[in-house]
Amino acid sequence: MSSLQTLDITQRSATTTPSPQVRTAGVEVAKLIDVSKCIGCKACQVACSEWNDIRDVVGTNVGVYDNPADLSADSWTVMRFTEYEDKEQNHLEWLIRKDGCMHCADPGCLKACPSPGAIVQYSNGIVDFVEEHCIGCGSCVTGCPFNVPRISKKDNKAYKCTLCSDRVSVGLEPACVKTCPTGAITFGSKEDMLEHAAERVVDLKERGYQGAGVYDPAGVGGTHVMYVLKHADKPEIYAGLPANPAISPLVGLWKGAFKPLALLAMGVSALAGFFHYVKMGPNDADADEEKSDSTAAHQEQK
């Protein structure tokens, strides 16, 4: 992040001092993913890896087209393929959804993050992780209603899609948008994207998809990554896209009554960590811990 980019910050994790106010607020942006135009070619995945200089491992086939099979610190967006059969109508659909950070207006990750300035939100709505401040505690994973952030095993820091905040800040579209061959991903002001989405919904309804609609869930204050879905009435069929995502009540507690306690707990655990470090040496993020984190995230979604 350039130091001037900090002037665009409107929210900062675990910070009570006011954000910079001098700059005029920028336009709220949004990325619109029209699932009805997405062919799942994964060009966006590749563009994301190229722009951000991240490389996942060459994996294996686990019986599906999804590769890499899940988001990771090295894969900030992945295609999720679902074979959905409406048995009554004898109708098969192959639903393909590009998964990644939704850039919530009310970001659960930011609210949950205990480390000052590790998660920020800009005036254009983008939610960004500032890894130099990240302590790798995994609270953002717990706080995210979409199960997006991943902790790197290399440096024990949290990673996710930045909506190419570096590109957007200089007037470019995100890399995935630029590369999408079918026009399934578009980018612009949130207002324009909603307008475009509404046109697409009309077209889909004309084609018989009565449940077509825009996914911009109110439970997180709306999002800066939105979907056009043929079946907006049942988003869960798109590889578990939550119908009513909301920030976990635990995060709410952390921000409210329990905050002093939590801060105390943090202090204690930092201290404990220090002794642990002195006794055992640096920490490796171990697999069990990660698993329990993601299980917790799953439980909280329900």
Binding site: K42, G59, N67, I96
Partner: protein
């Protein structure tokens, strides 16, 4: 493509069949999403698998592999029986009215003139009835039982929806629904485009599959119109350029053909190709063949090609048979071809029956590989465990590997599916010692020429006399080569005398030495040279037309005539005179394209007709045919019949061809070439009960991108796809290891169990399909895998010899 990528946005219905554009042509597929979003187009997909294209479709219908002619024949029957054809178009612009010889017949799956011993046809009986002037007879009422319309009606009356269901396994209601979508475009103001690719080409009856699609488009009046046409989606960025420049073994550049061994006489060679019109007033543009041919011979042999020596006609080889890739490997395995220069090609991976290909390569004396990558072919001799289990000690072949540049490391033009020649500039310098292909070939050629000049030889003339005018003889530049294929004037090219002003001196159209403006300036007297007549106009006196980058679209129909350059003559839609009715008015007043303005033809494109041919003259739109109209019935030119007829693939999961159940000769394509020994290598359904097909995935490009890390990450490991019911029958779990066997070999891989492949009921035979993506091998950074062509059969299309990769049989079991 008769049309081009951008034009797909003008379609009202898009039929994707014999292709999977969303998978294999993701960038081009954009224009389908445009047609849907902005033209309210409906997308219909017919495919053995529910593909990525099917995921985008308004309607999908399944079909058994290799039965597309039965399906499309059924659609033709539907259109004819339900009066859903565009009659005016059919009557005026096709040969529906032409009368066929009384000797023509089709019975029991065979056409008249079949010779079972030679497995070929004598096509004399397929000809037109002629009048005293040698013109074909016609019946405009279309009622004569010998007219093409009636013959087609009768031929396809057998292709009922019930028969389609029994052969293809497509549920009857799904088939009828597809027919209904297609039939909506039989009215003059609605158009359908057909997008197909190797899903039609790679069958033993591939040419005829494509032809059935073309017949459909003609009956609907969809050829020559924006949003219509027959659109072959080419599988490499420049494979259109390869065919245009004549790299097929029987062709010369610009779709001219090499003489056969019985054509040693120059006049006969020309006469058979410069076809006289079969109807009055027709252009029959191939009449200009001598101009194209002589100019071509001058480009290659310059001063050595003279009128006296028939423009060096004796330099051209006279073919005793086709020398396609299958033939070449057959000859290698017989020890009759001993040396092989393999340029930009990975046949061990990409040709059928890997065991046969590998065995053939091991019999060579030398193999030269020209490629940017270390391909499987270049290491066919090396043991890679189960993936290439060979003994290097048993291979005598000496292999030379010459590293070449890849497309991004060189300047030049690529010809896309839409026939656009787009100039591009290198993005990076090549690594290490890699050299451009022209430099490598020139290096070999100049050395060979020097050897012939020094030592002589059996027939050195074609080699020592080859024109080689390049500034650096060992490294011709792309610019020089492009200017050469465009052509130039060797002497002043003048206009023909003006009949109204015969005394006026002729105008100089191109002065000696000047680049030509187009093929209309070619002459047959040796005063012009041109390496590829259809590319004439690409690099004119005004410079490199392929490098133009003005994307303005003045008519708003996706016609950017100043963006790059398209052959022929920068025309973007072929046969576009057919976009207007016989009187010259647009069929669709809302979408005008090429119309007659009272004096000349004009509109959004370069008219595909003599510009001053008034409609009253009756010059018909299909100017490349001798008939002037499009051929629903093809009297000559195809080896396996004048009309498409359903045949089973050579390996089929069903016991009988239901179209000719009592004639075993007509089970599979009776005129397809099968080499000795290969017939025995076909499997039988009792051992290999499942239909199989190979294909690409969007994450990869052939066998290249497994060398690229990001592609390898996005689709790392080989797999096969099977339906849930087959998986249940065989106890195969999702993501588990399976063994797939054909009569030629076996592979072990991962199973993707899917709802997208369903068993089909084909006349009581339950047909399961095994889908086999092709992209893995034993070289590269992806997980190692078996070459998919370990399994495929060594037989090709009867006309083109394109291998039958899309339909064969296998068995599958838990590994």
């Amino acid at each position: 493509m008769t049309n081009h990528w951008v034009d797909i946005k003008n379609a009202d219905v898009v039929l994707i069949m014999g292709g999977n554009a969303a998978e294999a042509h993701p960038c081009g597929f954009k224009w389908v999403t445009e047609a849907k979003a902005h033209n309210k187009a409906k997308l219909v997909v017919v495919d053995p698998r529910f593909t990525r294209s099917a995921a985008m479709a308004d309607f999908y219908a399944p079909i058994r592999v290799g039965t597309d002619i039965a399906f499309l024949g059924g659609v033709i029957n539907y259109l004819l029986s339900n009066d859903k054809i565009q009659k005016e178009y059919v009557k005026n612009y096709t040969n529906a009215a032409f009368l066929i010889s009384d000797d023509y017949a089709c019975a029991d799956g065979l056409f008249s003139g079949y010779n079972p011993d030679k497995r070929n046809y004598d096509n004399t009986s397929w000809g037109y009835q002629k009048d005293k002037d040698g013109f074909a007879k016609i019946d405009e009422t279309l009622e004569n039982p010998r007219c093409v319309y009636q013959i087609i009606k009768q031929h396809y009356s057998r292709y009922t929806p019930e028969m389609v269901n029994k052969i293809c396994g497509t549920p009857k209601d799904a088939f009828v629904k597809v027919c209904e979508y297609i039939a909506t475009t039989s009215v003059p103001d609605r158009v359908m485009t057909i997008m197909y690719a190797l899903g039609w080409t790679q069958h033993s009856q591939g040419t005829q599959m494509i032809r059935t699609g073309a017949m459909l488009q003609l009956l609907l009046g969809n050829m020559g119109l924006p949003g219509g046409g027959m659109n072959a989606l080419r599988g490499h960025s420049n494979i259109q350029g390869l065919t245009d420049l004549g790299l097929l073994s029987n062709l010369l550049p610009g779709y001219m053909s090499l003489p056969g061994e019985k054509e040693s006489n120059y006049e006969d060679y020309i006469k058979a190709r410069a076809l006289k019109p079969l109807r009055p007033n027709q252009m029959s543009y191939w009449q200009n063949y001598p101009k194209f041919h002589v100019s071509f011979m001058k480009a290659w042999w310059g001063n050595a090609a003279t009128k006296e020596n028939n423009w060096a006609f004796d330099y051209l080889p006279k073919l005793d048979k086709g020398y396609d890739v299958l033939q070449a490997f057959e000859l290698m395995s017989q020890g009759k071809i001993n040396g092989y220069i393999c340029q930009g090609f990975n046949p061990l991976a990409s040709f059928p029956n890997k065991a046969k290909i590998g065995g053939a390569l091991a019999k060579l004396k030398f193999l030269v590989i020209i490629d940017p990558l270390a391909t499987e072919t270049s290491e066919f001799w090396k043991n890679f465990g189960v993936y290439n289990d060979v003994d290097p000690a048993k291979c005598q072949t000496e292999v030379f590997r010459l590293p070449s540049t890849c497309f991004a490391e060189e300047d030049g033009s690529l010809t896309n599916s839409g026939r656009w020649l787009q100039w591009h500039w290198k993005g990076a310098e090549p690594p290490g010692e890699a050299r451009g292909d022209p430099e490598i070939i020139a290096g070999i050629f100049t050395r060979i020429r020097a050897m012939y000049a020094k030592d002589g030889g059996k027939f050195p003339d074609p080699i020592v006399n080859l024109t080689w005018p390049y500034k650096i003889p060992s490294s011709p530049s792309p610019e020089e080569l492009a200017m050469e294929y465009n052509g130039k004037a060797l002497a002043d090219v003048t206009s023909p005398p003006d009949p109204k002003n015969p005394k006026e001196p002729p105008k100089v159209l191109a002065a000696a030495g000047q680049q030509l403006a187009g093929f209309a300036q070619l002459r047959d007297d040796g005063s012009t040279s041109c390496g590829c007549w259809i590319y004439s106009g690409a690099w004119t006196a005004a410079g490199n037309q392929m490098a133009r980058r003005d994307n303005s679209d003045p008519f708003g129909v996706g016609q950017t005539l100043n963006w790059a350059w398209a052959w022929p003559a920068n025309r973007r839609i072929l046969y576009n005179r057919a976009a207007a009715d016989p009187s010259g008015k647009s069929w669709n007043p809302r979408r005008k394209y090429i119309t007659w303005n009272g004096k000349s033809w004009g509109g959004a494109d370069v008219p595909d007709i003599r510009p001053d041919a008034a409609p009253e003259e009756g010059v018909n739109p299909f100017i490349m045919t001798a008939e002037g109209v499009a051929k629903l019935f093809v009297p000559a030119g195809l080896v396996d019949g004048p009309l498409p007829e359903h045949y089973e693939p050579f390996e089929s999961p069903v016991p009988t061809n239901l179209m000719s159940p009592n004639n075993p000769k007509a089970f599979a394509n009776p005129a397809a070439r099968v080499f000795k020994g290969d017939m025995e290598a076909f499997g039988k359904p009792k051992d290999f009960p499942y239909a199989a097909t190979t294909y690409r995935l969007t994450e990869h490009f052939h066998y290249w991108t497994k060398h690229s890390e990001l592609n390898a990450i996005s689709q790392p490991q080989q797999f096969v796809e099977i339906g849930e019911d087959l998986a249940a029958e065989k106890g195969i779990a999702h993501g588990s290891k399976v063994k797939v066997k054909s009569n030629r070999g076996e592979i072990t891989t991962v199973a993707v169990v899917t709802k997208r492949l369903k068993a089909l009921d084909c006349n009581g035979t339950k047909v399961h399909t095994v889908g086999i993506p092709i992209h893995w091998g034993f070289k590269g950074v992806a997980q190692k895998g078996y070459l998919a062509n370990t399994l495929t059969p060594f037989v090709g299309d009867a006309n083109t010899q394109t291998p039958e990769f899309k339909a064969f049989i296998v068995n599958i079991e838990k590994a």
